[in-house]
Symmetry: D2
Subunit: 337 residues, 4 copies
């Protein structure tokens, strides 16, 4: 499918050239699993990026990264707060329940799929603290959110402070963390550990990798537990160097950030063309726009592929490899509606 | 590490050229997950190979393939018979217990890690059929076994008949299925469904792929359940086409078989050099040899890397890319001991 | 505590005399677990009551009855619809998640904790039927509901029809099933299997037993699976005859119905005294009334014990052994407010 | 069945008079669950018995006590060492796997179902300490063992020391703990916490209670976790006072010890009659004797009920209420064989 037609999702985009090159370069014999030189260098590489010591566990999917993190942060009998429309709630087929051994995701409403301390406090404090009720143990937020909004450093910090006050652990689903950083122009640290995040699922696959996500642990004591759980879940690839190579390639020269900027810029062009239709501000690489069924049909008739978002709305997602010229036809088509 | 020094395991071997080429070719936009054209063609490709209709679920690791299969074949309260030294028992960190939700692996002794109907019957029939005891539901055998022996078609069929008679489901861990087929010179069908196997973890990663295993289901009704479990376990890669591409590349032109033959041939050369030391016949790509600590030290001093197998023994594994000249130095070194 | 002061819950009421007598009578040697004569006669006794063949599995708690039933009706990756305030959701500490191995309870709003086909359809049909979303497998309703309302035969049948149409299994939490039957004046069959219920947690403990619940299975094929799960959960008491004896004693002479009628009658007296305060019609043995903090304090100052139900409301529960004279003081006190 | 005929098991024995009386006395209104006065007094009562502060969690079955304890002592990915013929391994239908969320019981051989540090060390130290193997976290021993042998204080202490050295937690299944104490003439403390036991499933049901076991926690930090798990498993009875009453009744006046002494004394009489047939010393209330099929048939023809123990052997179990005259006929019959 041509890139100028595909706005369905960033999850099937192509793999960027430096990643493909890194995969080829990794094709020599080394130690299996995560004992190879590339895997062994991840902690240092991510520690540099995050401006502090971190432990990194690679894995092939965002779902496994999220579930591994939450299993380490919440006991089987605990509650994890998330947004009603969080990916962990809606799109991971119960992976969190599976990995935790039965913990409960408790969804909260929140504009633009964004949570706030007030929203969390209302849910949290309504839970009678006795043995009959499942008790809260963790919070997971998505940055950028499922509606393409970025939590600012202050917003993350406010949630982090709430979590510390209630003794909850904080996880961030960063499937589009790069897009959030690109939008905010902040340091990755500013919207993660400086705000109180304990574990971050830092996504690379949507952003130009093939199958590589970094579970970044700001509490290094979590790493041992998570490495065991990763093996037990069948996610410890025998040729793990091919995953580590992808992550290192994307960190090198800040390709992860450039790719995200490209995707965001493409989304910006579309947003400008659809300004009057926007359901949410466009801060990352996703647009949610008002679009009647007839309008959607007209766009599809021109070949554009996108996702219906209930009645009268649509989701458009740009990818790291959408150029300005790739998005121009759709921008024009929207303006012409 | 040089190939002529590495006999530690086949699990970290390089990726063969056709697979690398297929991965590069797959780098165009297509549908995400397993909806792409490559993934959609797997059923047909494997059906042709297995001479009957099969359903295939790709996954990135043998551990996940085994655990997914057994979770579909055994309830959480059931027993799965395996060999005492089976990979599922020894090397998968409880993945089967995790995926099944608490089923029990019951290990059985057996020469060369091979089970027989008699061995299984003795364990099975000792289990009092009441609610206090966990009841048997499945059997898993490994072909080639953990000691590099191949179950023949007749041996598989005997176990398959035992399973049918006891109403047990039969799984085969085929991490080195290709090596077994190469040794036996039979059809893949002969040591799988024709012998009563319900589900086969058909390994490609050790045999030249990057991270691709095919869970082959001879009972097509299992596929739906397993596809859900794969997603829930975080194994449904968003860019699944890169996995499917590997499998298709290896089926094409029977590369899977050629690679296995190469590994087996390399092992044969070593076996001939170590004939008096062999603990088991060499039928696949693994050798288990008597080797004193002093002898092991002498080999290691020459740079050879291999696995100690308890006191006075060692395991040598050849890979798909070991050439005749790659193994000659080790063969000579063993003879010189 | 005096009965005329205790309206906190029916869950700590005394044990009625026939049950105590039956327990004493059961104190002779018999077979262990559920092989004794009393346990063996449960199927017949409940089949007579339900006017069809049923299988009955005794257990000591409502939580275990609910969780056992739902584990048999829903796979680990499935969704179970319940009311937002259902006991399984609010008061069982994740037992359903535990027993099912990670299934998800999906709460639905509904006046008086009552669900309808329309409510269920809205939730059900919003779930995209693909592998990323957890798919619905079962519904559980509570009769009488958590707000003391009885589902009528027609209401149950409507939900049953909805479930059949969507291929969902239907469970009823009948912790206060007896109170519902007493209110409706119907046959137990009318609000269970005739309405499409597959499994009923028929509660006896709140209604005068010591620790005895009957899990009544209208689909007899479920019994084997549930008996295994009961043992595995540690609920197969070795002296099970003492549980069976309680159930039989309460069926004998319809004590279960008489006790429920007494509790309902006591609630009716209170309801009449508080008619202007009722938040819901009083159909069983629970009242939810508007009650200011000051009023609550005045009642408590007189010794009455009850449960605050958020701001400005209270829950009053009558028990099987509340006589007319037991409730008169509270009725008078409410009128005097 | 007449007591002088029943030697099948102690698990279906009658309930002793003080327990029945205590149950009747408990039949007044009190707080639900474990908030009642009786439940609240358990910690003190057991602390007195064990000569130190302990926390006690009541539950209705030995299976739940064992599984709750082990779930608190071992993570889902851990190994628990037990004897090959331990009750948790053979007779609890996978409860440990269920409650722990997939931990593995690793059975060890040992004469008379007794483990030693040497046996444990051999199994433990053979486990390669890496992420591929499930790692040991706990040990569970049964006292008296499944073959009726008592671990002495020194034997327990040796295992306790082993566990501390390997950082393993130690659980004791004390379904017949009372019989062991009665045999040894020691303090309960001597074979529990003084020997390094972290948690003890102290059985009362076989010893004259109706359905009451005390999970005694010598590490008080475990109590909170276990109370949550008990609720989640559906074992928090709403009228918990009836369980607590049983435990208190049996502690009062040392009935638990008297009952165990009676059972042991009865077993001693049988042992004397069968001295030449004994497979193990008789230290508690179980005898394992050589008995041919013909001899077994002769005893059964006289009405005696007992358990075949494989070919040519039988198990005879005495109960707390077997009097000297109750066992005389069987003793005579054995001598007459």
């Amino acid at each position: 499918m041509r890139m100028d037609m595909r706005f369905f999702s960033d999850n099937a985009a192509t793999v960027c050239a430096p990643v493909m090159a890194a995969i080829e370069s990794a094709n020599s014999v080394d130690t299996a699993y995560d004992g190879d030189a590339l895997s062994m260098s991840l902690d240092a590489a991510f520690s540099a990026l995050f401006e502090r010591e971190v432990a990194v566990v690679w894995t092939g999917t965002g779902t496994s990264a999220n579930a591994l993190a939450l299993a380490a942060l919440c006991p089987p009998f605990g509650v994890i707060f998330c947004h009603d429309e969080a990916h962990v709630m809606m799109d991971e087929c119960g992976a969190v329940e599976f990995y935790t051994g039965g913990a409960r995701l408790m969804g909260c409403a929140g504009e633009g799929a964004k949570l706030t301390p007030a929203i969390l406090a209302a849910r949290h404090d309504a839970i009678r603290p006795d043995v009959h009720r499942m008790q809260p143990h963790a919070v997971t937020i998505t940055n950028a959110t499922e509606y393409g909004l970025a939590y600012t450093p202050a917003e993350v910090a406010a949630i982090g402070a709430f979590c510390r006050a209630r003794k909850l652990r904080l996880h961030m689903d960063g499937a589009r963390f790069a897009n959030a950083v690109a939008h905010l122009g902040c340091s990755p640290a500013d919207i993660s550990w400086r705000g109180g995040v304990d574990a971050l699922s830092f996504g690379f696959t949507k952003n130009g990798a093939m199958n590589a996500e970094a579970l970044v642990l700001f509490d290094p004591e979590l790493a041992g537990n998570i490495r065991i759980r990763r093996k037990r879940a069948g996610h410890l690839l025998s040729k793990g160097r091919f995953v580590a190579a992808q992550l290192l390639a994307m960190l090198s020269g800040n390709i992860w950030l450039d790719n995200a900027r490209s995707a965001n810029a493409a989304a910006r062009i579309l947003a400008d063309s659809a300004a009057s239709r926007l359901l949410y501000p466009v801060e990352a690489n996703e647009l949610f726009i008002r679009l009647s069924a007839a309008e959607a049909a007209r766009l599809r008739a021109q070949g554009f592929d996108f996702y219906d978002w209930g009645d009268g709305a649509a989701r458009l997602v740009t990818s790291w490899n959408h150029t300005e010229s790739d998005v121009a036809p759709l921008a024009a088509a929207i303006m012409a509606l």
